[in-house]
């Protein structure tokens, strides 16, 4: 598959492929939030059957029971309904691309995304039917990868991608390579984060400690990489006069901000779940009490996970944008 289209590539002018792709990516990000909330609230098995809901057709499940039932059931059933909506949008996106998109590889991408969304749905179902944490973890990892791919399709169909040409902008070859490495690191960070979130009750403390240390090490490595690449993209690539450069500039700023926010969120997530091990260091720490399933506790943990997905998507998209322009 050719990811870097030729300069002569024609654009038929329709904005619908982009709108549809953007809608898929946007709704998918919201789906990742709800999915994160499912894990935070331990709601994965709140509905024990699949694809139905307590024997009902998923779409015919009574609203009163859904809205006024337990929170975990509300979240899990909502996650399923929203996922169905995303699946529908993925179909729409593929049809629109098929009818309006002149580049076959973009049409293929939308089709692959549709397959990925269906696979992710089945994976969610398998997680429920087998009641297995391992599948929950794979489901939790595959979602952000789908989101990154959906974001990439939105980039391919965007106006700026069409407008810009693929002329060489930078000859700094290490930047695209470092971006690829950075994307791999943040994806690996996702896998480790997912393991921390889906730890089995019998996991030995030393194994868990190893995961936490790996997560911390990769967090610092990812931060160093993102700070370096953002700086390089901003000062060395984005100054070139091209439409693509504008996107690169934006994405590098976003990534820079996101990684700083993510570091703070990671720290807050640990405090919300485990408190700090130095309670005697200050009065504030000595009086702090964690609230189980508390409002802030739940949201901070979920936002940390969602921001991680956003970082993967931005890193991937930035890598594609820069890779296209490498000399």
């Amino acid at each position: 598959m050719e990811l870097s289209p030729s300069i002569a590539e024609k654009h038929n002018g329709s904005r619908w492929p982009f709108r549809a792709a953007f809608a898929v990516a946007f709704t998918m990000f919201f789906l990742i939030w709800i999915g994160g909330l499912v894990t935070t609230q331990d709601a994965g098995m709140a509905v024990p059957d699949w694809p139905g809901t307590y024997g009902y057709n998923m779409f015919a499940y009574p609203l009163s029971t859904w809205f006024y039932g337990p929170v975990d059931l509300f979240i899990e059933h909502g996650h399923r309904l929203w996922a169905s909506f995303v699946g529908l949008l993925a179909i729409v996106s593929w049809v629109i691309a098929w009818r309006n998109e002149s580049r076959p590889w973009v049409v293929l991408c939308t089709f692959v995304l549709l397959l990925a969304v269906i696979f992710q749905g089945v994976l969610g179902g398998v997680r429920v039917l087998f009641d297995a944490q391992t599948y929950a973890m794979i489901h939790g990892c595959f979602g952000p990868l789908c989101f990154a791919f959906a974001s990439a399709i939105a980039l391919f169909t965007s106006k700026s991608w069409h407008k810009s040409n693929a002329a060489t902008v930078t000859k700094v070859r290490w930047i695209p390579r470092l971006l690829v490495f950075q994307t791999c690191v943040v994806v690996l960070q996702l896998f480790i984060g997912a393991q921390l979130r889906h730890t089995h009750a019998t996991t030995p403390p030393l194994a868990f400690m190893g995961l936490v240390h790996s997560h911390l090490t990769l967090a610092f490595l990812a931060t160093a990489l993102i700070l370096t690449t953002s700086h390089a993209c901003f000062w060395r690539i984005s100054k070139a006069p091209s439409e693509q450069s504008r996107i690169i500039k934006r994405f590098s700023i976003f990534l820079f901000i996101l990684i700083l926010v993510q570091l703070c969120l990671g720290f807050a997530t640990w405090i919300c779940n485990y408190a700090l091990p130095w309670a005697d260091a200050s009065q504030a720490l000595s009086t702090y009490i964690i609230a189980t399933k508390g409002y802030w506790e739940s949201w901070i943990t979920t936002i940390h996970q969602a921001t991680g997905s956003l970082i993967i998507a931005f890193s991937f998209v930035l890598t594609l944008a820069v890779w296209r322009q490498k000399g």
Binding site: A46, Y274, A275, Q283, A291
Partner: protein
């Protein structure tokens, strides 16, 4: 590099369906190796106890440990299917101790498998720190300070009953509901706000009681029965083969274990909150309605007397809590959970070379039980005057904090008035404005 290229070419040369099948096969194999469904959960044997007994008796107790687990599984079931010993459930004295329906709701993997009723509450809220067995050896345990409680000793720090006795159900509910400040133990009060989760805290309290009783029985079997065996003659504690070959011996073994169960359960059944003496100056400084001018003067006078007692030789609080109540005293000691597998097993907790081999048996790095910095006004056993009174007179089980010497027990012990003076001093130094009025200075660098 060439080899990689060759491999790549070989893969590419495969026809597409074959490639897909290969990928599918590899992926399925990967998933199969991870396991498709949850394996039945089982309780973990008390390996540290076995190690201690092996060290004392100089014998391999692997078979005895297995027999003990068999007996425990027959009596108490598994983490997925808990059971309450038949001998106890038919006894009217003990049948209210643990609610079987609650046990079933707390056990198993979490979810709503039956009639929309949530089960697996212990795994949802507790195992991450306390472990499936309640051994305080959950996945996150090594990273927490203080370490999560090991229920199997039957020792609980925060309770209203006298130090050696077990906590009441209300004590467990109190800790689960309000959490423990400055630790990783969360407050689950949020659950009570939603009608769908309103009784979850009680469910967990019953399950904690069940795990604790199971663990204590396991401990007593190893500590009480095993030393009496003639191991060289091949004696056993619960050999199922004897059921057919020597039924009388088998019954004897069964009865011995059931007696242990009864004695453990009785301790839990006997637990009662201790009395709080009405004699003395009882003031809640956190309640503004309590603090009129007259009461304030009475309180300050009492707190000043408490200050002298705090530093005196009878109460001797300052030995650990420091002259200023800042937690910087002269004495440092380990808690009972640590001492069980170190000092009492002949292992020096300060020497890593000695305790490190026990890590694979479930020992976490020994750490000191630090005295509370009272200047922060954080009382983990409750900040109400009655709770502080109980903490002083009962001590904190499992820690170096002893029960106060009282006049009822010894000639130069404390009177109830004097205990209230200590209570008031503890309250006073926790609030900066009042601390100054009892002539106490703030600790430099905020007490660190």
């Amino acid at each position: 590099m060439i080899a990689w290229r060759r491999m790549f070419q070989i893969n590419l040369s495969l026809p597409k369906p074959q490639s897909l099948l290969l990928a599918l096969g590899v992926y399925s194999g990967l998933l199969a190796s991870m396991g498709c469904s949850p394996t039945p959960a089982s309780f973990v044997p008390h390996r540290l106890m076995t190690a201690r007994m092996e060290s004392e008796l100089r014998a391999d107790l692997g078979d005895i440990e297995r027999q003990s687990q068999t007996a425990l599984n027959e009596l108490f079931g598994t983490p997925d299917e808990p059971r309450w010993p038949a001998a106890i459930s038919s006894d009217p004295n003990f049948d209210q101790l643990v609610d079987i329906e609650y046990l079933q709701r707390a056990a198993g993997p979490f979810g709503r498998k039956v009639k929309n009723l949530e089960t697996g509450l212990f795994r949802k809220h507790c195992t991450h720190c306390h472990g499936l067995t309640g051994d305080g050896f959950g996945p996150a345990a090594a990273l927490l300070s203080p370490y999560p409680r090991d229920f199997r000793r039957g020792t609980f720090k925060f309770k209203s009953s006298i130090s050696p006795s077990r906590p009441t159900l209300d004590d467990l509910i109190e800790t689960i509901e309000h959490g423990v400040p400055g630790t990783s133990m969360p407050a689950m009060a949020n659950l009570k706000k939603d009608e769908h989760y309103a009784d979850d805290i009680a469910v967990l309290a019953h399950y904690v009681r069940y795990l604790s009783i199971r663990g204590e029985v396991e401990r007593q079997i190893m500590m009480g029965l095993v030393p009496e065996l003639d191991l060289s003659a091949g004696e056993s504690i619960y050999d199922q083969n004897l059921r057919d070959t020597d039924p009388a011996m088998f019954d004897k073994q069964k009865i011995a274990i059931e007696e242990i169960v009864r004695s453990v359960v009785k301790k839990w059944s006997d637990a009662q909150p201790s009395d709080v003496s009405p004699q003395g100056v009882r003031v809640d400084v956190r309640s503004s309605s309590d603090f009129s001018e007259t009461i304030q003067q009475e309180f300050l006078a009492s707190a000043r007397r408490g200050k002298e007692l705090f530093r005196g030789t009878t109460a001797a609080c300052s030995q650990c809590h420091g002259e200023q109540g800042d937690g910087i005293g002269k004495i440092r000691d380990f808690d009972e959970w640590t001492k069980d597998w170190t000092i009492r097993a002949g292992v020096d907790p300060k020497d890593p070379q000695q305790w490190k081999p026990l890590k694979k048996r479930g020992l976490l790095k020994p750490v000191y039980a630090l005295p509370r910095n009272l200047q922060w006004g954080t009382f983990r056993n409750g900040a109400e005057p009655d709770s502080i009174f109980r903490t002083i007179v009962n001590g904190i089980a499992g820690t170096p904090m002893p029960a106060a010497a009282r006049i009822a027990d010894m000639k130069n012990g404390l009177t109830d008035d004097q205990v209230w003076d200590l209570v008031n001093y503890c309250q006073a130094i926790g609030i900066p404005d009042i601390r100054k009025q009892v002539g106490e200075r703030k600790v430099p660098n905020d007490g660190t």
